[in-house]
């Protein structure tokens, strides 16, 4: 009813031009025009120069580490995030409320703080690292350290995208499946898990996107050795410190194009999740 009225009549509420104008102005000044500078700077490079910069061995090694560690971290978070979300929604235990609110800590804790804390904890003489050191497993200052930092950063994404879906899940469906003879495992894999899949993939993509750009926490826990433990944002930073602006920008363009693609995917996924859930309800 409301839709019919508002689409037929002219706008009742004021401020369309004011808010549209201000939103576009502020967006352009803060985000769009500065971003355009990146593409302007890349255009000062010729194609072969650009190609050579973004496919140098050091850059390739950095992509491998950044993409590999981010994917692995998102995967770890998908598995454990699902368990955490499940436990928080379905079970009761002492301190649940406290645990639930602490899940957001990686959002709220500045990355530099996370970086120095994780680096100290997972160092061979650190609180957690000392248990792994006798096994010959070094975590801080290796690629494993990068993985630890990226897992920390992505932790809330999957838990927070799964929680609302699990809360809205109607027990009748499970009861129906159980009364038709499905055991608990079958109910989970055939009924619950397919419903969670879109949200799980969305959370995975969000965690992956965040991990890909992460700088603050990784820079402390990684030893930052080129070709070995250097992630792409750090390589950009190194180039900037050497005043190689064109080189830094070329790498930034590669990352930006990838981030835009990922952002688009996430938006499509979220639309899919919403549609999936509303069709389930009706």
């Amino acid at each position: 009813m409301r839709n019919i009225i508002s689409s037929k009549k002219k706008r009742v509420l004021p401020g369309f031009r004011l808010t549209l104008g201000y939103t576009l102005l502020y967006l352009s000044l803060i985000v769009l025009i500065p971003l355009a500078a990146v593409f302007w700077k890349t255009s000062t490079l010729t194609w072969p120069e650009f190609f050579q910069t973004v496919t140098s061995p050091q850059a390739l090694a950095a992509y491998r580490l950044s993409f590999g560690a981010s994917l692995l971290a998102a995967f770890i978070n998908a598995v454990f995030g699902l368990i955490v979300a499940w436990v928080l929604v379905r079970y009761n235990f002492f301190g649940k409320k406290f645990v639930d609110s602490l899940v957001d800590l990686p959002f709220a804790l500045p990355t530099a703080v996370a970086g120095i804390t994780l680096a100290t904890l997972y160092a061979p003489n650190g609180w957690i690292g000392q248990f792994f050191a006798p096994l010959g497993l070094k975590i801080s200052f290796t690629r494993l350290g990068v993985l630890v930092a990226l897992t920390f950063i992505g932790l809330p994404f999957i838990v927070r995208t799964l929680q609302p879906i699990l809360e809205d899940f109607e027990p009748e469906i499970e009861e129906a499946a159980a009364s038709l003879g499905a055991n608990r495992w079958q109910v989970f894999w055939r009924i619950i898990f397919p419903t969670l899949t879109p949200a799980l993939i969305t959370g995975f993509a969000l965690a992956f996107a965040r991990a890909l750009g992460e700088y603050g926490s990784v820079v402390f826990i990684s030893s930052n050795i080129p070709m070995k433990t250097q992630i792409v944002p750090l390589l950009i930073m190194t180039k900037l410190e050497q005043f190689d602006y064109a080189g830094a920008t070329a790498l930034a363009v590669v990352m930006l194009v990838f981030s835009f693609g990922l952002l688009l995917t996430i938006n499509v996924l979220q639309w899919w999740t919403n549609r999936h859930n509303t069709s389930n309800l009706s």
């Binding site: 409301r2 508002s6 009742v12 509420l13 004021p14 401020g15 369309f16 004011l18 808010t19 201000y22 939103t23 502020y26 803060i30 985000v31 500065p34 971003l35 500078a37 990146v38 302007w40 700077k41 454990f80 368990i83 955490v84 436990v87 079970y91 645990v99 609110s101 899940v103 957001d104 800590l105 959002f107 709220a108 804790l109 500045p110 990355t111 530099a112 703080v113 120095i116 804390t117 100290t120 904890l121 609180w127 957690i128 897992t151 920390f152 027990p171 009861e175 159980a178 750009g213 700088y215 603050g216 402390f220 944002p233 950009i236 930073m237 830094a248 920008t249 930006l256 981030s259 952002l263």
Partner: protein, 304 residues
């Protein structure tokens, strides 16, 4: 016993068919808590433990150091400018998107989210390219015949710098915290619809009156939460600020950058002392979040 009470008893006791056996439950809870301990609980405790490792005196000494003070001051300036600006933008954008239908709305939404998906290092780099010596501003200042020669002359005379100075830090902070308030308000205002505001208008309220008396009371908790998140990120931003800061001690150091300097000087206890200030801020953010959520739930139930 009436049929309805048996039904209620059964659902509250959770029938075996829709729940897991106790050992599975305990196993899952243990796995979840172990995972969270490794990544959340132990790190959080260790920040404070390390900060006080050399006693309370050393902690105070680190925080009252003049360089630490100037870092705290700069962080407050950056957050103090960027949070109100992004707050005004957030309310404006949310009003636009929630109250009106127009073409290109989805594109606008995606563009607002953009700073979230960009690496902090690139956010800083972007401003170096605009305002740096090799960027647009540099080109303008060194041009033979610049537009508005008086402006170029004034800028040159006053040795005005944005990059490796305070304005750059403020700009980078605005960029990375750009979407926070808008992101929080848009879904909230979309869910609330337009009927209340339309009713206010029909009853003769002006646009501003409608906003202050109808919309604002409805969104105040969401707005507060957006501001809290925005502030937490503004005070804690490291990557973007690190690119534009130039690391001039006592001048262009924010708290996170000061943490880095202390850490790289092997003054670990000092670094953790500074870090504990930010960790404390993060805890306050989480507590306020809980409080706002409770208020929001209350608002929802009273509205229903």
């Amino acid at each position: 016993m009436t049929p309805s009470t048996t039904l209620r008893l059964r659902t509250s006791a959770q029938p075996r068919s829709t729940s897991e056996p106790p050992w599975v439950r305990w196993l899952l809870i243990t796995i979840a808590l172990l995972f969270l301990s490794f990544f959340l609980f132990v790190p959080l405790i260790s920040v404070f433990a390390q900060a006080f490792a050399k006693g309370f005196g050393f902690y105070l000494k680190t925080l009252t150091d003049p360089l630490a003070w100037s870092a705290i001051k700069l962080t407050l300036i950056a957050a103090g400018i960027s949070v109100p600006l992004n707050c005004v933008f957030g309310v404006c954008a949310a009003w636009l998107i929630a109250k009106f239908d127009f073409r290109g709305k989805n594109i606008l939404l995606t563009l607002i989210d953009l700073p979230f998906s960009i690496s902090p290092v690139i956010s800083g780099l972007v401003y170096v390219l605009v305002f740096g010596a090799q960027g647009w501003l540099g080109l303008y200042l060194n041009a033979d015949k610049p537009w508005f020669p008086w402006l170029a002359q004034w800028l040159n005379e006053h040795d005005f710098h944005i990059i490796f100075a305070v304005p750059g830090i403020v700009l980078a902070t605005i960029f990375v915290t750009f979407p926070f308030v808008a992101r929080e308000l848009i879904p909230l205002m979309q869910a609330q619809g337009r009927t209340e505001e339309e009713a206010a208008r029909v009853l003769g309220a002006s646009g501003w009156q409608t906003f202050w008396r109808v919309t604002l009371p409805n969104i105040k908790w969401g707005l507060l939460y957006g501001v809290i998140l925005c502030n937490a990120r503004a005070m804690g931003e490291f990557g973007a600020v690190s690119v534009v800061s130039g690391h001039i001690r006592g001048k262009t150091d924010t708290i996170p950058l000061h943490v880095e300097i202390l850490y790289n000087e092997y003054n670990f206890t000092g670094a953790f002392a500074m870090a504990s200030v930010l960790a404390f801020l993060a805890l306050i953010t989480l507590i306020l979040k809980l409080w706002v959520e409770r208020k929001n739930a209350l608002l929802k139930t009273t509205n229903e």
